[in-house]
């Protein structure tokens, strides 16, 4: 095992692009010289059903194949999940929870976990024209954790999407990134 192994768990609903977010965060981390592993929780794939996806980051080859139970970070794409699922389960002290919500607080996280709220739905609607929040939340993740560089994220988005779709997603991602960096979320 290497000097560090950090883990991200993404909570979303089918159709919100949680798996894509995990993959592109891993691609961006890999570009930054980190060994990254991304995989989905193998649930029932249907629109609206709760889904999870995971990313691990390490300085060495990752051999572990189990799901993520004690994350350093979580991303919650849909805050209505919080009523049904303990999204904070197992979070490590010092961890960061990024929640897509119009609210600015009111969530009780475990001790030592900081909560960052961002209205990624509004950003997605304004920049992309669809309530698909994964790319905005990827930008927020980059800003809040420093695990990935924004430029690497931009490259990863350009590698996945084409033309205008890439442009609008990068814009959503950048806006969230700058909001969190600037502390104005």
């Amino acid at each position: 095992m290497g000097f560090f192994l950090r883990e991200l768990r993404i909570h979303g609903r089918g159709g919100q692009g949680s798996v894509t977010a995990a993959e592109l965060i891993a691609v961006a981390a890999f570009q930054g010289g980190v060994f990254a592993q991304a995989f989905p929780a193998f649930g029932v794939e249907r629109r609206g059903a709760p889904v999870q996806a995971f990313v691990r980051f390490s300085d060495e080859k990752i051999r572990l194949r189990s799901q993520v139970y004690e994350p350093d970070y979580i991303i919650v794409q849909d805050s209505t999940l919080i009523a049904d699922i303990n999204v904070f389960a197992g979070m490590k002290a010092g961890g960061v929870a990024i929640i897509n919500t119009e609210k600015t607080g009111g969530y009780s996280a475990p001790d030592g976990v900081s909560i960052i709220t961002i209205d990624a739905t509004i950003i997605a609607l304004e920049e992309i024209g669809l309530p698909i929040t994964n790319t905005a939340l990827m930008g927020a993740f980059a800003a809040a954790t420093g695990e990935i560089e924004f430029s690497a994220l931009e490259d990863a988005l350009r590698g996945r999407f084409e033309g205008k779709l890439a442009d609008t997603n990068i814009k959503a991602s950048q806006r969230a990134y700058e909001m969190i960096k600037g502390g104005s979320a």
Partner: protein
């Protein structure tokens, strides 16, 4: 070149590098992104291959059978129920000595319906005459395809091979791999040179009638070819190491086994989690090691017996069960160790995608060292 991509795409790229001349697949559930990616490569002219989109898995392997008999390098991929539908053709391919390579994205068998991972599908075909290789990670999965063609097409072997890698756990995982170049693969894997082939100008038949006077000898020849495969894997696995820097000359692989008192035996992606658990157990002073089975057919019985001669206790992790008996791997490990004083315990686990964590591996080692085993591990008693 190092790149990060999904396991299924890594295997599709490796397959492309092997230049299959005919690919046949049935693109519906259960299937993986592998054949979808290969279809795209053919459409984009990145791969010159005859891609046959058939109407069932039975037809997919039948098309491969015909194409291979006609002298083409052929490929298919399947999983679980799809492999089950190929059952009859699998025996025919092996009996006709056709060196087809097929990816098995290991998944559970229905019923009840499960799309998730275990290794019951390929284990159920263990007696079909196909070589079976199991990958721990996506690098190994892609490498084993290149190795498999080299081994299978050797005229002393001429057998088909499954390259097995765990469904979802590897197929759907993004992780970095070192992708060889076309030049490197071409230098390792020469064009297919069939020993004999269907030719209208020089007609021969494959898979003809064998009366009781002949059938036994055909089966014996298949068995001899399978046993010769051990040496071929050692040879071409070592050659692979020379050319690509990753050595696959061992049918088995040890991890911290030299001074171990307890050995875990496992196949596939679970080996990674086991290695991490072993590092933690070692830090606590427990002398535990792993014996990974990379080649399940032919079964490395002598290799296992030799590697475990100093071991006291063995815990076999079986992601399958031979209902009415035991886990398939444990059965043969017990056979390989017959007459030794080693205690061998079987743990059937992870069926239908049940997640296995480091703490599970540690619990199993504790159970084995206490002499408790031959069980389904992790049962939810409240459901029984």
């Amino acid at each position: 070149m190092k790149e990060i991509l999904e396991g299924s795409h890594a295997v599709a790229e490796a397959t492309r590098l092997c230049r299959p001349e005919v690919i046949a697949a049935y693109p519906i559930t259960p299937q993986t992104h592998i054949v979808e990616a290969l279809a795209q490569m053919v459409a984009d002219c990145r791969l010159q291959s005859e891609y046959i989109c058939v109407e069932s898995e039975f037809s997919a392997l039948s098309a491969c059978l015909g194409a291979s008999a006609a002298g083409s390098r052929t490929y298919s991929a399947t999983t679980s129920q799809g492999l089950a539908l190929m059952f009859e053709v699998c025996f025919n391919v092996a009996g006709m000595r056709l060196p087809i390579v097929m990816t098995i994205a290991n998944r559970a068998m229905s019923a009840p319906l499960s799309i998730w991972n275990d290794q019951q599908d390929s284990i159920a075909l263990r007696d079909s005459g196909w070589i079976q290789l199991y990958a721990e990670d996506n690098q190994e999965a892609l490498d084993l395809h290149i190795l498999a063609y080299r081994v299978c097409e050797d005229h002393d072997i001429l057998l088909p091979a499954f390259v097995c890698f765990d469904g979802f756990i590897l197929t759907h995982t993004y992780e970095p791999v070192d992708m060889p170049s076309q030049e490197e693969v071409d230098a390792y894997l020469p064009a297919f040179n069939p020993y004999q082939k269907l030719d209208a100008k020089d007609p021969i038949s494959f898979g003809m009638y064998a009366t009781p006077d002949y059938y036994l000898e055909f089966r014996y020849e298949n068995q001899r070819a399978m046993l010769r495969t051990k040496e071929a894997i050692r040879k071409y696995g070592a050659l692979f190491g020379e050319q690509f820097g990753r050595d696959y000359s061992g049918l088995i692989e040890g991890y911290k086994l030299e001074d171990a008192e307890t050995a875990i035996i496992a196949m596939g992606s679970i080996c990674g989690t086991v290695k991490d658990a072993i590092d933690e157990m070692r830090a606590d002073g427990k002398k535990v090691g792993l014996l990974k089975i990379r080649c399940y057919r032919p079964f490395p019985d002598e290799e296992i017996a030799s590697a475990l001669s100093h071991i006291k206790t063995v815990a076999v992790l079986d992601k399958n069960v031979s209902l009415g008996s035991k886990g398939a791997v444990a059965l043969e490990v017990k056979d390989a160790l017959y007459g030794s004083s080693i205690d061998v315990y079987d743990y059937i686990l992870g069926l239908g995608g049940r997640d296995i964590r480091k703490k599970d591996i540690k619990a199993i080692v504790d159970l084995a060292e206490k002499g408790s085993g031959d069980m389904f591990y992790g049962l939810r008693e409240e459901l029984l």
